[in-house]
């Protein structure tokens, strides 16, 4: 197993804080996530498909998790992706980023790196120029690691 003394203490403190406030945070975060999605879609329930999140199943480093998003669209003046919202459901503040596109963007694709405090869903919501919205959701596991092989 996997602990230096320093890291063990770090983890212990983290775990304690998590246990103490977990219920409040998780409800608050889920509520915040739902509210952020509603605000972005104008209250509509987004459909699945069209938008694809690319995340690792298990994070190699929870402090910097690569996240990619792509949306199927011809990206013409009549039919293009306007924006994509990225949320991390389990973070104290779920909003991560909003990417804005125009027909001139050519393709609706973006990559970034985000910090994940613990195992949770990452969510991408895409808004098209006609107002329709699409959602994708992937679980990213954040583990202690070190016992495989």
């Amino acid at each position: 197993m996997t602990f230096t003394r320093r890291q063990v203490f770090g983890l212990t403190a983290g775990a304690a804080a998590f246990v103490a406030v977990a219920p409040r945070i998780s409800f608050a975060a889920t509520d915040d996530t739902e509210a952020a999605i509603k605000a972005f879609t104008g209250g509509a329930e987004p459909a699945t498909g069209t938008v694809t999140l690319d995340t690792p199943e298990i994070a190699e480093n929870g402090n910097t998790v690569p996240v990619g998003v792509s949306v199927e669209s011809p990206m013409t003046a009549d039919n293009y992706v306007e924006s994509v919202l990225i949320l991390a459901e389990g973070n104290p503040s779920p909003a991560v980023a909003t990417f804005h596109f125009t027909a001139m963007s050519g393709a609706a694709e973006a990559k970034t790196r985000i910090r994940l405090a613990k195992t949770q869903n990452v969510i991408a919501v895409a808004k098209m120029n006609d107002g329709s919205t699409f959602i994708d959701r992937k679980e990213v596991k954040v583990t202690i690691g070190g016992c495989g092989g």
Binding site: F3, A16, E60, N61, T143, I144, G146, G148, G149
Partner: protein
């Protein structure tokens, strides 16, 4: 080396020691089997092309004992399906006679008695004989030799030469491609240096440059063999930077990345591949799932989880081949390709009985040469074991019990943790424990035996975390090791539950008291993936312990209770 006659006599003599019951039928079966090199290697050929697969050798150059697990639970959809079938159930599933050579090679049933009769398995000189014979039989131009990785780590000589002994030996076998996992624990620079020495491809479709998020390795390669175009896609162990120290390979990122595999399948089809092979270190369940989701792969040569299956598992028209570990087996897969399509196959998981298969003389002398500088140290006797020492099993193994005992006593700890590795060879009751045997169980580049304080809550979190790596219902979240081994503490586990709910009843064995989440415990362990971990190397800790207690006798480990 035994002649065939001597071998049979040895087997009969051993069976006499077994007493009544099993022994009688076993010795008869032995005689009926009349094991010979021809019998082990012969097979009705099929088509023109042959794939030869070997994987997870873990640097075992010499013949070894390796006991397969008696418990290997499958979760969810794969419960009760191979490779999650062990012992008598395995024999029944594949219609293998108890006591037969295959029973010895493939299961833990009657292990000690059969091991004494059938002898050690593997040895790269024997493996070389098998491969040379296949090449001679099928023709060099019709055979592709593929190494699934975990080749360069697992012995004293591989550790001290940083993989050089294995590279030298494997290069002489002329594989066509390999992929990796423990290879990466030699660190970026050394891995690069060794790869530069390879006269063949090191493939890794799922290895990316961590900074630029771009492919860092050659993902796949096309070969022409047996008159066909064969595309081989390499897949390294997806969770290398999580299960092993990320700080040793900071520039590389891994992951399953099945969309990349699908992309390479498409490219290979576009370039006219007749056959598409995934040379994988994913682990069996990950590859089974991958085969169901990515179309167009004809063969997956799987590795990592050390499963040895005598027949392919067929998923979505993909043949999944599991070739065991430690040089115990060589897989031969004959393929008949008609009009650019796979139209038939024949498969043999060849068990490498070291007393039956003649060592290849050139390879034997090369092995002696690479080991010569260390022979004195390797053969040094540390003690003796009265118990069977082995590692495989979901929850514990006796070699790990010994390591945990050493950690508790030598590091003066209340609780010991030892990773659930699946490599490490076995020793029979009555055998000496040599320096080499000990290092076969712990040779690695991050061996520090730490001693630190952990709260009961942290211990619970660790068990839950590792439990989820092993028993997550979705194979893509499994890392392929076994449960962390625990000394000084007992617990109950319900594998079918979710993370956070599997572990209960954690008890400090010394007092019988329940583990207090708020109390700190003195914990000793080894193989931390964290940089800067301090402590003596684990082999020194265990050697000191054996020197003080030169006869190892381990009680039955009953510290883990299985629920659900």
């Amino acid at each position: 080396m035994f002649s065939r006659r001597e071998f049979l006599m040895a087997a009969t003599a051993t069976s006499a020691l077994l007493g009544s019951g099993m022994a009688g039928s076993w010795s008869r079966l032995m005689a009926q089997q009349a094991l010979s090199e021809d019998l082990l290697l012969q097979m009705e050929p099929k088509g023109k092309l042959t794939l030869v697969h070997i994987t997870d050798i873990h640097a075992q150059l010499k013949p070894i004992y390796f006991r397969e697990p008696s418990i290997n639970l499958g979760i969810g959809d794969v419960a009760g399906k191979p490779p999650h079938v062990t012992g008598a159930d395995f024999l029944k599933l594949y219609s293998i006679e108890p006591g037969s050579p295959d029973a010895y090679a493939l299961t833990s049933e009657d292990y000690v008695a059969l091991a004494q009769g059938y002898g050690k398995m593997g040895g790269m000189d024997r493996v070389a004989s098998v491969i040379k014979r296949i090449r001679a039989e099928r023709g060099d131009d019709n055979v592709l030799l593929l190494d699934g990785g975990d080749t360069w780590q697992g012995s004293y000589t591989s550790n001290v030469t940083e993989g050089q002994d294995m590279v030298t030996v494997m290069n002489s076998l002329s594989p066509d491609a390999m992929t990796g996992h423990w290879e990466f624990t030699y660190g970026t620079d050394r891995v690069q240096e060794l790869i530069d020495e390879l006269p063949f491809a090191f493939l890794g479709s799922n290895i990316y440059d961590a900074e630029w998020d771009e492919p860092a390795f050659e993902p796949w390669k096309m070969f022409e063999r047996g008159g066909s175009k064969v595309a081989v896609i390499g897949q390294a162990f997806p969770y290398t930077p999580i299960a092993n120290p990320r700080w040793m390979i900071p520039g590389w990122s891994f992951g399953i990345r099945e969309e990349d595999i699908a992309k390479h399948v498409g490219e290979a089809q576009d370039e006219g591949a007749d056959l598409i092979v995934l040379l994988s270190h994913n682990g069996f369940d990950v590859d089974r799932k991958l085969a169901s989701r990515v179309n167009g792969i004809d063969v997956i040569l799987t590795g990592h989880t050390h499963d040895a299956l005598p027949e392919p598992v067929i998923v979505n028209d993909t043949l999944v081949i599991a070739s065991g570990s430690n040089g115990k087996f060589v897989s031969r897969l004959d393929l008949d390709i008609q009009d650019g399509k796979l139209s038939g196959y024949a498969y043999r998981l060849i068990p490498v009985f070291s007393d039956i298969i003649t060592p290849d003389a050139d390879m034997a002398s090369l092995i002696d040469e690479v080991r010569a500088p260390y022979e004195g140290e390797l053969s040094r006797v540390l003690g003796k074991t009265d118990s069977l020492l082995y590692r495989r099993g979901n929850f514990n193994g006796t070699f790990d019990d010994l390591i945990c005992q050493a950690l508790l006593e030598e590091r003066d700890a209340e609780i010991a943790l030892s990773p659930g590795f699946r490599w490490g060879t076995s020793l029979l009751p009555g055998q000496d424990i040599t320096f080499e045997d000990l290092h076969n169980a712990c040779a690695m580049t991050y061996p520090a035996a730490y001693r630190s304080a952990m709260s009961g809550q942290v211990l619970k979190d660790i068990l839950e975390d590792v439990g989820d790596n092993l028993f997550n219902k979705d194979p893509y979240y499994q890392q392929g090791g076994d449960m962390v081994r625990v000394g000084g503490m007992g617990y109950t586990i319900d594998p079918g539950k979710e993370i956070g709910e599997r572990i209960s009843g954690m008890t400090l064995l010394a007092t019988g008291e329940a583990i207090d989440p708020a109390r700190d415990y003195v914990v000793a362990g080894w193989a931390s993936v964290n940089e800067g971990t301090e402590g003596p190397p684990i082999w020194d800790v265990v050697e000191n312990h054996i020197t003080k207690n030169p006869v190892v006798k381990l009680p039955d480990n009953q510290s883990v209770t299985l629920a659900g």
